[in-house]
Amino acid sequence: MGQSRIFAILSTVVVTMALIPLAYLLWRTAGAGTGVVDILLDARTFRILMNSVLLAAIVTALSAVIAVPLAFFTVRTDLPGKRFWSIATALPLTVPSYVGSFIIISAIGPKGSIIQNLLMPLGIERLPSIYGLPGAVLAMTLFTYPYILLTVRSSLQNLDPALEEASRNLGYSQKETFFKVTLPHLRPSIAAGGLLVALYTLSDFGTPSLMRFDSFTRAIYIQYQSSFDRTAAAVLALMLVALALTILALEFRAMGKASYFGSSAATRRPPSVIELGKWRLPALMFTASVVGAALVFPMAVIGYWLVRASFTDEFIRGLLQLTVNSIYVSGLAAAVAVLAALPVVIYAVRYPGRFSTLLERMTYLGSGLPGIVVALSLVFFGANFATSLYQTISMLIFAYVVLFLPKAVGTIRTSMLQINPRLEEAARSLGSGSLETLQKVTLPLVRPGLVNGAALVFLTTIKELPATLILAPIGFRTLATRIWSATDDALFAEAAAMALLLILASGIFMSIILKQEAQ
């Protein structure tokens, strides 16, 4: 009983922090005038809201189609070069959306793009336009599917092998086992990852604006940029919160009430490796083509810009500091987010009830919001109630945790759902204390969730922009902020060099962290 209270208190503290953006929006909206009502009732507002819903739905579905097979191949099969593919398939997440979209446009844009120039001798004067929904879907899917990939990976690693073995013993084929046993057990992780993709798609501004797709976040930005109207922006942002609530409810239903752990006591046996056989080549080609489109292709375009570039010594000397800064804050954010998410998850999964479920769901509320909204809520909070911390590294890390907590919660929860609670009960009945049980039984078992959660937070933090610009200590620059100012100034070669570093630094971090997953 005592333990449940400790988790309840810890979770409440974490969730209270995560609710700062919402509290701020309600506070801002309290002063709303009548002009705002006009915007809300405008048919156009509704139409662009539907645009965003459509975009989120398509991107989420496509991401699942790409990510689930990739996760299966890289965790469970004898795919050649598995370790390399594990890292390479996750890295597209580090490509900032405005950079990724810009790359796509300059490569396959209708006129004067790299591909169109190549096809020019064949008499092709103009390629079909990618602007609008197709371009937005393409860019979003290519650079966000890893959310589902990483959550599904952690779930596959935690899957009790006894479940599949039982199915095989009952005479089901490998294929039947996959569709009847494995896939249904992946439901919570696909839903959790899908939730992250959907909320990210709703909140992103860079891709819709470059792809000229009329999304809801664009309306919010117009309120800040043109009217300097924080109240109207807050009202619109609240509509996004309402939308996020709907998606949260859907995800909760998709997960269902079924239990996802096996009954076997012998957990943490490595799952059997499935031999791909004649599927080896198609699986390899699928994996390679996704990596080709989402990672090699953008890096090739970056390389193309780099070849034509020359850099000053000063710029090159500055790169090391920027890279160190980026890794430093992202690593810190990943560690803190995982530690903060843990009590929320344990409380929600081990003590399921209205209150604990509500707390866990609440952590997601801010993540459908555009970064600028969350950043301003923390400016308001920090400058008025935490003045000594305002614009320090601590404040910046705090902002990252508020922004990206759901990424850790989602992955850890899927892992946690797969652990049989009787193992913990057994440990306690053998005389082990609560803390000891947590340390010796629970934590080692949810490790895939912790590792993948940390990876997700790291990869998302390293490219974060609005909060970093406003809340970092003055003069503190990261690769992401410098990429932004370079693209803003049309210094594409410099932006390219830094984007490449961002991907490489993330690659090194991923290779270290995925090693942990395997142990």
Partner: protein, 343 residues
């Protein structure tokens, strides 16, 4: 095995503790009290553009200057949210709109007349709450291999002609500089005419881009043939690639050739007003104004310094007569753009 299993969390906790310690040390080190008073500037102007100049001023005057770079609108909202606790002393904005938003909330202090008088009245706030540092002209940029200069009209109005139809035009309706241009149009020719112009351009199926840079980039690729932009973006492309196939065209005496400014204001949260004024003084010095002309290709605003990069001098542009402080309120413009189905 047991040890190994726990290593990840140990790493995480260890990293958290270790990195926080570094953070605290950094903070102590960074925030160590120095001798000279500090000037903190929030800059909506790009670090690549103004960073070297501020560095020059810092080393030339010995001022301890700290700059936070960001987007003009985001920083204006930040200053408003920070309220009386804002660490910012000055706001250096990309356009008059951001300064207007702060002025409206009573956050800007009056700048002394000795400084204000350095620039023409049309380039500063009538209340003396902000001052223009550089000018930015609206231009019609065009792809030189797709459009002959002779084809280009003297009036912005003529781009509503059908011959500019079929996606030849690029514009950026969500962009602040475009909205300021539409506001100027409304003030100069009335709401009816402005609406008619917008509808006319819309009928020509223009391509909408998020900002000026993407328009110029698309012009270079030939995706569009003409684009409504500010003058200096093209020059940045030209400095990377002198053969970039795009050039300026100026219309005459209408909103198509208006001049907006990037300006600076002193915030009510300033600690040392003298220091802030000295910084404005430094920005208006001939050396700084020459820096802008040479490096950012904007129009210098003090007399005696001319624009560079083969651009038309300020005096030769046939600009409309307009009070920039009237451009602060974009509400009616946004309504018009929304009603016309453009935003």
């Amino acid at each position: 095995m047991k040890m190994k299993r726990r290593t990840f969390l140990k790493y995480a906790a260890g990293a958290a503790v270790g990195l926080s310690a570094i953070g605290i040390i950094r903070k102590l080190f960074l925030d160590a009290p120095g001798g000279a008073p500090t000037l903190t500037i929030y800059s909506g102007r790009n670090e690549n553009l103004v960073g070297p100049l501020i560095e020059q001023i810092r080393s030339g005057t010995g001022m301890d200057i700290r700059v936070r770079y960001g987007e003009t609108a985001g920083l204006a909202a930040t200053i408003l949210e920070e309220g009386a606790n804002s660490p910012a002393h000055m706001f250096f904005a990309q356009d008059a709109g951001g300064l207007g938003a702060l002025s409206k909330e009573g956050r800007l202090l009056t700048i002394p007349d000795t400084l204000l008088s350095r620039v023409e009245p049309r380039f500063r706030s009538p209340k003396g709450e902000w001052i223009g540092i550089t000018g930015r002209a609206r231009t019609v940029d065009y792809n030189t291999s797709l459009v002959r200069p002779g084809e280009l009209p003297d009036s912005i109005w003529e781009f509503t002609d059908q011959k500019w139809g079929g996606g030849r035009i690029g514009w950026a309706p969500t962009n602040g500089s475009f909205q300021a241009f539409v506001t100027a149009f409304r003030i100069l020719e009335g709401n009816g005419k402005a609406r008619e112009w917008l509808e006319g351009i819309k009928a020509n199926k223009p391509q909408a881009y998020p900002n000026n840079t993407t328009i110029v980039d698309a012009l270079g690729r030939g995706e569009i043939q003409v684009g409504f932009v500010n003058n200096y973006y093209l020059m940045r492309f030209k400095s990377e690639n002198p053969d970039f196939p795009v050039a300026h065209h100026y219309t005459r005496g209408d909103a198509g050739s208006m001049i907006n400014v990037a300006g600076i204001g002193v915030l009510d949260t300033v600690e040392n007003r003298g220091l802030a004024e000295a910084f404005i003084e430094a920005l208006l010095s001939p050396e700084s104004q020459q820096y802008f002309a040479r490096e950012t290709f904007e129009y210098p605003l003090i007399s005696g310094v001319e624009v560079e990069g083969d651009q038309k001098p300020l005096a030769e542009i046939d600009t409309p007569d307009i009070d920039l402080s009237n451009l602060e309120d974009l509400e009616d413009t946004l309504d018009m753009l929304r009603d016309a189905g453009i935003l």
